[in-house]
């Protein structure tokens, strides 16, 4: 690799650059054959690496850990609410009730929180869009190259939701692809990321934003916006109905 901009190009592809730096890297990428090869290679590698094992903690380790934490807190073994939630043989109804209550908030609430954080941070920066286009043939490959996933992207302009572009963003530490729509003065963000089998939160409100989650194919989806309830539901229905 001899192009002296290659590390900058890499940083751009990794979503590490903002504003003027990102624009400069994008311009360079358009004219540098070597960096274009780099971009293709990076996308190929990300695709290939998704086939490589991401190891998951074995259940035996989870159980060992729960016991170790019990010892650490010097308590009689309390069934740790989400470690043991699946194997609730000896739970009293009361404990099960508590376990269920406790089971809901952490992951669900933090994921909702994280999606809304990403949405509001983009709005605050005034930079909801990294690639501006109403053409899904532009937005979809851009997302594939930059977020490493290729969600369906459809322009719903006729139904009142104009495709404005796309960006990559982080939700709970994971890279996501975001298709950005305009509905009047409102932004609607449609986040997608590879489904890793985690639970998704309930559809609802978080800090004044409507938010909906669903799974389709091997992707998780989250729509977030401050449009009114009817418009939001309409958008969610459209997004759920789209096909590759």
């Amino acid at each position: 690799m001899s192009c002296k901009e290659s590390l900058q190009t890499q940083a751009y592809l990794d979503g590490e650059l903002n504003g003027a730096d990102a624009a400069a890297a994008e311009r360079h990428l358009e004219s540098c054959a070597e960096c274009q090869v780099l971009a293709n290679d990076a996308a190929d590698l990300s695709d290939a690496l998704r086939k490589v094992v991401r190891y998951r903690a074995p259940d035996t380790l989870r159980q060992r850990l729960a016991k170790a934490l019990d010892r650490e807190t010097r308590r009689s073994p309390t069934r740790s609410f989400w470690l043991g939630a699946a194997s609730g043989g000896g739970l009293s109804a009361l404990a099960a009730g508590f376990a269920l209550l406790a089971l809901l908030p952490p992951s669900a609430a933090s994921l909702s929180q994280s999606v809304v954080d990403a949405h509001t941070a983009a709005l605050t920066r005034g930079k909801t869009i990294m690639v501006a286009s109403s053409n899904h043939h532009t937005v979809k490959p851009w997302l594939a190259a930059h977020a490493g996933i290729s969600p369906p992207v459809t322009d719903f302009a006729e139904q009142g939701f104009e495709l404005a572009g796309g960006r990559t963003d982080k939700v709970a530490g994971n890279r996501t692809a975001v298709a950005v729509y305009r509905h009047g003065n409102h932004d609607v963000d449609l986040f997608t990321w590879p489904d890793r089998g985690g639970r998704l939160p309930e559809t609802g409100m978080a800090r004044g934003f409507r938010i909906a989650f669903w799974k389709m194919g091997d992707l998780d989806y989250a729509a977030v916006s401050d449009v009114d309830a009817a418009a939001f539901q309409k958008f969610v229905d459209l997004a759920k109905a789209q096909r590759e």
């Binding site: 290659s6 590390l7 290679d41 990300s46 290939a48 490589v52 170790a68």
Partner: protein, 166 residues
Amino acid sequence: MDDRRRRFEAQALPHLDAAYNLARWLSRSPADADDIVQDAMLRAFRAFDGFRGGDAKAWLLAIVRNCWLSAGAAARRRGHASLEDQELVAPESDPEASAIQAGAKRKLDAMIAALPEEFREVLILREMEDMSYREIAEITGTPIGTVMSRLARARAALRETARDCL
């Protein structure tokens, strides 16, 4: 359940898979990964009062990496004067190994495992755990510029094999 335990379970335990994945790729051993992660989680729990918000995942992964180092990996490091100058090459595949390598995917797996630690950890943190450059720099105690060049070299080393996987 006491409050600290509850907060720990809510904030740190969701990253248990990430902790295990890193430990597994660093140690390349299921048994070692178990021990490293258990050690790391207990250390994290003990130190949890000192954790003041921020990204629990990066915080936890830094502890995992430290546990891995203190578990003896440091002693096994061969003291290369400068790994940056070392050529990153695919391990010679012996005939028996190639016979076992049913596909490029397995080869890619083996090549990641064969990357020198400095490159392997950066690649895993970025590509599998989606950590930002800054987070990787903090986790590994390395300047961002070094993170970037290691990442570039690790990716370049895997380029050919990755293409065969697609």
